[in-house]
Amino acid sequence: MQLRYVFTELRQGLRRNLSMHVAVALTLLVSLTLAGVGLLLREQAQLTEEVWGDELQITFYMCNGANDRNPQCAGAVDDSQKKVITDALEDNRYVDKIEEESQEQAYERLQALDVEGVSGPDPVVRAEDMWESYWVTMTDPHHSAEIIEAVAGLDGIDHVGDVHEVTGPILAAVDGLQSAALVGAIVLIVAALLLVANTIRLAAFARRREIGIMRLVGASTLYIALPFLLESLVVALVGIGLSGVALAAVMHFGVEQRLSSTAVTQWVGWEEFFSSFAIVALLGILLTLVPTLLLTRKYIKV
């Protein structure tokens, strides 16, 4: 195949439709960045739930005899008290699953948040300061009150963890932002699709003589379509590259430099960035190549 022709056409095509290509690349930049932010927020919601438990969970913290909040606590919880508590939980019809967390496990989880004073040679907080706990998964989040009522007053219970108090605002903010980002992304994706379609139409019109002659002399459809496909691919790669830079900036200036200092939850990191960006890149390629393929088939069909 004579690729020189294809690349000459590609260069000419990029130059001829420069303003359209810039419009497509910028629209891709914004739509893909919004989609990427949406994906990062989803990851953030998951991380937050991993750290704090999801909305279906309540946590019963048991007395540890060290820093209990409940004046009723008389030393650390003992096995017979724990038996009474688990029996009460197992009897409750709104309880789906019970997981036990030891003081050491709780301590490890705290260390993962990287709070000051937890790690190091002389930590302020130790494993003995943590509470043993039951993480109860409910069949229905609306019935938390019934479960709490049945268990909270039992001997050995220090306090009930209200997950919503901590994660509620975070998850609500994440949810809201995520919806906004996705709605914005969808609107701009539609705009990007229309721009791509229009660019192809203009390019096909500008090259209609060449295309007509190529069809007459028997150039293959792929050969005729190749400059269009490459043109779209170049624009897509530019848009994707720009959105990668934008997302990396969000990660660096937003998450790393601002949010990381507040240790209420574990924040998304570069691993989540790369997995989100991979999806965004794929989306960008699909958004440009699929309409290009469909439209070139339409405009240059033999």
Binding site: M1, Q2, R4, Y5, R209, E210, G212, I213, M214, R215, L216, V217, G218, A219, S220, T221, Y223, I224, K301, V302
Partner: protein, 229 residues
């Protein structure tokens, strides 16, 4: 080489069909004029040979194959075997004469070496020796049509289809183009040419197929345009 079996073509929204049960058979190496008034269906018949259009009913065979049963990806291969020229030349105005001719080879995947050899050869054949570097708008109409013939012929097609190729030319250039087509025909290429140039058809003494409102009204070996039985 080309066979129509009861071919009809009705364009959507047209009251009368453009072709009506047309049956013709053109042998390899023949030179055939397709004549008839404007709107009689000549261009439609030529488009059917290239699968630019498809028949509503009937079958079209080119080089032994029923071309409407051809898979879409094989259509380019069919068109490489059929050269085409038109009344309006259809040259690329931003390319030189040589580039226009080379274009047909480039986009069908020939090597640069083949192109460098074949383009000057073919330009010489059509009488455009030394004009390869000119732009199309620096040439006369007759010369531009020669460029189109060179482009249609450079891949050595078995068939050359010409739709009123002399329609825009003065008598002198018309004769030149006809001599050129005759020479190409003598080299073994089948030629089908639509025209309504009475004088020229009379002079050439070739087979004439006449259409009227899409019907075949005459198929005469060595006919003249207006000749009657």
């Amino acid at each position: 080489m080309i066979r129509f079996e009861k071919v009809s073509k009705a364009y959507p929204g047209q009251a009368r069909p453009a072709l009506n049960s047309l049956s013709i058979d053109i042998q390899k190496g023949e030179f055939v004029f397709l004549v008839g008034q404007s709107g009689s269906g000549k261009s439609t018949a030529l488009k059917l040979m290239l699968r630019e259009q498809r028949p509503t009913t009937g079958r079209v065979y080119v080089a032994g194959k029923e071309i409407n049963r051809l898979a879409g990806w094989k259509v380019p291969r069919l068109r490489r075997q059929v050269g085409t020229i038109f009344q309006d030349f259809r040259l690329l105005t931003n390319k030189t004469v040589a580039e226009n001719v080379a274009f047909a080879m480039q986009v069908t995947g020939h090597s640069n070496r083949e192109i460098r050899q074949r383009v000057p050869e073919t330009l010489e054949l059509v009488g455009l020796d030394g004009k390869g570097d000119r732009m199309p708008d620096e040439l006369s109409g007759g010369e531009q049509q020669r460029v189109a013939v060179a482009r249609a012929f450079i891949n050595r097609p078995m068939i050359l289809i010409a739709d009123e190729p002399t329609g825009n030319l003065d008598p002198g250039n018309t004769v030149g183009i006809m001599r050129l087509l005759d020479r190409i025909n003598r080299s073994g290429t089948t030629i089908v040419m639509a025209t309504h140039d009475v004088q020229m058809v009379d002079q050439m003494r070739k087979r004439v197929i006449e259409l009227e409102h899409g019907h075949l009204v005459r198929d005469q070996v060595q006919g003249g345009y207006g000749a009657q039985f």
